[in-house]
Structures are given as C-alpha cells and as structure tokens.
Amino acid sequence: MGALQSLHGRPEYLDLAEKTGFSFEQIRVLHERFKQLSHNEETLRRSHFNEIPDLACNPIRAQIIEAFFDRRNYHQNGEGTVEEIGFEEFLVVMSHFRPPSLHMTEEQRENVRREKLRFVFNMHDTDNDGTITLEEYRHVVEELLSRSGALEKETAKSIADAAMLEVASISMGHMEPDEFYEGITFEHFLKLLDGFEIESRMNIRFLNMDTSTLCK
C-alpha cells in the first residue's frame, strides 16, 4: 500500500538497472508486481505462477513458466533449473521482453535479437543439449494445438512432422536417404528466423512511464 514513494532508499535498483536495462520506475513497478505474485515472500515458485488466471489460458504456459526457472536465461552461463527465484532473476528473464531503446547501434540491435531468439530457443530445447530435436519440436507444436478434439491426433502429428521436414530441408538442403537429422542448432535457428522482425514482436510496452531524471 505505498502512497508516495521515492527512490531515495533503493540503491540496489541501480545495480539491477544496469544489468537489465530497465528504468528505475519500471523496476519499482515490477518489484511491486513480484511482491504481489509471491504474496510478499522473498522468492517465487512455480506454484505462484500457476495462480495467474490469464496465464492459465495460454497453451504454452508450462514452457513460459519453465523459462523463468531455467538458468540458461540468467545470462550467467549457468545450466539446469532452479526451484525458486528471487527478484533479480525475475527481472533478468523479463528483460528479454524489454522494449528496445531508441538509440542503439547495429551491433547492440543484433545482440538484442540474438538474446530474444536464444530465449525462444531455450524454450524449445528442454533437455539442454544445444539442439532442438524432432521430439522437442513436436512437443511444442502439440502444446499449441488442441488436444480437446478440434484437431485429431493424427492431424496434429502430421502438422508437426511437416513443419519439421520443412525446417530440415531448409537448413540441410538435400538429405541422403540414410542421413539422420539431429536437430536444429542455435545457428540454424537464427538462419531460419532471419527475415522475421522480432524486435517489435517480442517486447512489451510500458504505459506512461516517464523516465524522469533524478538529481545527479
């Protein structure tokens, strides 16, 4: 129930702002949100995410929730999953959806793009071996499609297979009959999505956040 607050007592936000690129105001708002979701505890668990009704509507909610607990998304070259996360990890994962700032060099833009695509890649690659196998890909497709009867199982399977074949043919060119397609590596993934403009698709715009300047 904060009425009028200031950043005077929050030096840790400076650190987070540098790491994630969010403004102080956005960090403050997200911190309130974190506290709301975790019921004022220090850490968030998967069960807390499961309580959000809007998220329950989303077909790939399991993957999205896993993304928060996946250490590959923390930018620290870690691996594996954790059981609970603090505010810093929450913010770092959210920063993948940060709106792009206006003044960015080409290189920075490329980095941002790689980051976002890496996030999506990690979402597919659940066993963390660096490639998206046919099984993993099919699993994601099936999640998106309906299991409740609008599509038959066979149709869903064939759509997934067709998609995978398409991907294989693009990245490998012509395949020999007994060649085994291991899966999509991150480089292939980048190439596949080369033309798509994802910077604007994968970011969330904040409302009315005037990033005002504090006294220096």
Binding site: L4, P59, F196, I198, F206
Partner: protein, 457 residues
C-alpha cells in the same frame, strides 16, 4: 486508624468521578440516544470535512518537501502498467508471418516457428500485469491520510507533519479506539440481551415490531462504533418482504452498513464462539437462515430453505453476497448463480467505500478477524455510499447465469466499479484447464482453416 486519605487524593477521586460521569453522559446523549431514535446530530459529517482538509494539507506538505530535495515522487499506477495489443490471435500471427520477407504467404507451411512469439509475449504480459490478481490486494491511494499503514516513506515528512501525525496517533489510539470499543461492546451486548428477551414473547405483530426496532438500534450503535458515515441513495428502492437483496462484498462490515438502514434476514454458516452466540440469539427474535457446516455443501437444501423463506411474505428480505468472498472494492467479480435460481425478485445494492479515510477491504489471507476489526476501529472513519437499485426479475428465456451477470453489471455501473467475469474464488483456487483449451482450439482452427484454403486452391 490513620487518615490515609489526604486532601490531594480526595481531589483526584472527585475529579475522576466527575470526568467519568461527564464522559458517560456525553456518550449517552450524543451517541446512544440518537442511535435509538435513528437521528443524527451531524457531528460525524463535520468531522469528515475537517479530516479532508487536514489530509489535503498533509499531501501538499509532502509534495513540497520532495520538491525541495529535488526528488521526484512516484504516484502508484493502480491501472494497467503495460499496453496490451488489442489485435486478435489471427491478426497478429499473420502479421508475424508476413514480416518474414523471404516467404511467400501462399506457400507458407501450415505451422510457422514464429507463431510461438505471439504466445510467449502474451504469457509474459500476463505475468507482468493481469486484471485479476491485483483485485485481491488493497487499493493504493493518491494522497496520504496520516495512517502509517498507507505510507512507506518517511523521508519527506517535515517536523510539522510528524507532529500532526503523532497527534493523529494519539487521538486515534487514545481517544477514538477506546470510545469505539466501548460502543461496540455496548451494541453487541444489547443486541444479544434484547433479542433473547424478545424471543420470550409469543409470535405476532408485537414481536416483529419490537424485533425490528431492537435490531435497528443495535446496528446503529455499531455503526457509530466504527464511525461510519454512510450516504444512502434512492431509498425508495429499498428491499421489501419476500425479496432477495444482493450486494457486492468488501468486508464483513457490509452487513452492519446495510442492516442499520433496513431489516434483513441474514444467511450464513453457524460459527462457534462469540459469533455463534450472537447468531443464536438473533434467530430467537426473528427468522434468520443459519446453516450447519455440513448443510452448506448441499445445494438443494440451501436453495429449498431460501425459497421457503421467500414465499412467506411476512418474513424479511434475505441479504446475500453472491461474490462469495471479499473483493477490494475496485471491481465486481462473478456472482454465484445459486441465489439467482430460486426465482425471487432481486433488489441489487451497490456499496462503494471512500478509501481516503480508511481501507475497509478485508484481506483474509493477511489479517485475521480481530486484527482487522482493530484496524478498522483505529482508522479515522469509514465513509461509504450505498445505492439502492430498482428491483430486477429473471426475464423469459434468461438463465440464472445471464440474470446474475445482468445484476452484476447494474451494480458495477452504479458503484463505478470494474465489471469482471472472473470468479472471486480465484483468490484461493486455480483456474480450470478448460480456459487453456479454448486458446488451443482457436489456434488449431486457424491452422486447419489455412490447410483447407490451400487444398481448395
């Protein structure tokens, strides 16, 4: 025997005696007697106006203090923090696909890898901000009302403001709280005692008349015990016998607020302890509907008892809160359809609290009942507005759910609250999987549609 009463002690005793007498006389004259007769001296409204002026001054001081130190004050954003795209699933996915420059839309495969961006973004958007979760925590205020519980920041409070806050603390805990607790005990005690007495009378008009008077009087004392300043609108629509009164629910105080202006039959589960004593004595004077814990699950039994009560036109209108749980008074959530199935005339009532004086929302996961009541009694006041809406009945061809939604929309509109379709039970439970399947169905239909188009061409 020594004289151990020296003159000083004597004086103190006399003074104490006089002040107690004065205190109780004032209590009687200014509070209890008006409560009995249902009149008001207007003291509370004067108090409210004074408080408002003080709060405005306090807010200005804080803002000025912040400006002097050249820091920027951030007001809370209680509405949406992110801009959600109003585009539909299909539109957005097609847009993403089209942006792949080296793809021709006609030869696009049925499933695109890029489709996942849409769902990922929507998912993270829900995590950042969703309509439902924020309804279950208290509303944030724009100005400071001198209560520590609604201000986290002490950096900008000048000396003058601190003094004022200290004075406020003294007044609230030293004067108002004991006064209110006394009144509360008086009100409840009188209720229990007098209803037991009335219960001894034979059933008839005299009993009903007396019971009405007693209930009203005791609830009015309780209203004063909370320093509740209530404005009733459209009293010509007040619920009549044989009807069902339906209202939005913010706190257990809602009952006291409504029952001090009219007589209702309450519905609820029998509790143990003090609550149970009150319930049992109330039912002696006039018929309320109390259920045993085991009976609550039996929906048919509940419906039958409600409709039996309704059919008897001599019995009072039933008061029900269909949301089933306390919501923080910024929105109205799904009404449970049970009470709308029994076919009675429904009298909707909208209750809106003014959060500037004290937050009436009961967050039952954070505070227990006693804690909550203490909080209420040590706030400045509870200010609220009650609107009696014109009666509604179920129309031809309308089922219970549609009727419930129609009533809910009317209440939300009148009270200036957001009308939500979500279930208040989400405060404690999870969303069903059927919602996820809806989205999946939508997406699959889109894909299958593309396939059909292609096979046709």
């Amino acid at each position: 025997m020594e004289l151990f009463f020296n003159p000083f002690d004597n004086l103190v005793c006399i003074l104490l005696g006089i002040s107690f007498t004065v205190w109780f006389t004032m209590l009687l004259v200014f509070i209890i007697v008006p409560a009995i007769f249902g009149v008001s001296f207007g003291i509370r409204r004067l108090y409210m106006k004074t408080l408002l002026k003080v709060f405005e001054w306090a807010t200005l001081r804080i803002e000025r203090g912040a400006k002097e130190k050249n820091h920027h004050l951030y007001k809370p954003y209680s509405n949406a923090i992110i801009a959600k795209e109003p585009t539909s699933l299909e539109q957005e996915i097609n847009e993403i696909r089209r942006s792949g420059s080296n793809r021709d839309l006609d030869s696009a495969p049925e499933f695109e890898m890029s489709d996942i961006f849409y769902f990922a973004r929507r998912g993270v958007e829900s995590i950042m901000d969703d309509e439902v979760t924020k309804r279950f925590s208290a509303e944030e205020l724009e100005s400071w009302n001198l209560l520590t519980r609604s201000n986290n920041n002490f950096h900008y409070i000048s000396l003058r403001l601190t003094v004022l806050w200290g004075l406020g603390l003294l007044i609230r805990y030293g004067f108002l709280l004991p006064l209110r607790v006394t009144l509360a005990f008086t009100g409840v005690g009188l209720l229990v005692f007098l209803t037991c007495v009335i219960g001894l009378l034979p059933n008839g008009r005299m009993k009903n008349y007396l019971s009405e008077k007693v209930h009203l009087m005791c609830y009015r004392i309780c209203v004063r015990a909370l320093t509740a300043i209530i404005t009733y609108h459209d009293s010509e629509n007040k619920p009549k016998n044989g009807g069902l009164c339906v209202a939005n629910h913010t706190s257990p105080i809602d009952v006291i607020i409504l029952a001090s202006d009219g007589c209702y039959a309450m519905v609820g589960q029998i509790h143990g302890g003090l609550m149970g004593v009150i319930q049992r004595s109330m039912v002696k004077a006039c018929p309320h509907i109390w259920f045993e814990r085991s009976e609550v699950k039996d929906r048919h039994l509940v419906a039958k008892r409600l409709s039996d009560h309704i059919e008897d036109k001599t019995k009072l209108p039933i008061l029900i809160f269909p949301e089933g749980t306390c919501i923080n008074n910024t929105s109205v959530m799904m009404f449970k359809k049970g009470s709308f199935e029994i076919g009675a005339t429904v009298y909707p009532v909208a209750i809106k609290y003014d959060p500037r004086f004290g937050d009436a929302f009961w967050n039952s996961s954070k505070f227990g009942m006693v804690n909550y009541l203490l909080c209420m009694m040590s706030s400045w006041a509870i200010v609220c507005s009650v609107w009696y809406l014109p009666p509604m009945s179920r129309e031809e061809g309308e089922d219970a759910v549609q009727f419930a939604n129609r009533v809910k929309a009317a209440i939300a509109r009148q009270g200036g609250l957001v009308d939500l379709l979500w279930d208040g039970g989400l405060k404690r439970g999870k969303v069903k999987d059927t919602f996820k399947e809806e989205q999946q169905k939508l997406y699959s239909k889109m894909l299958v549609g593309t396939q059909e188009d292609r096979s046709r061409s």
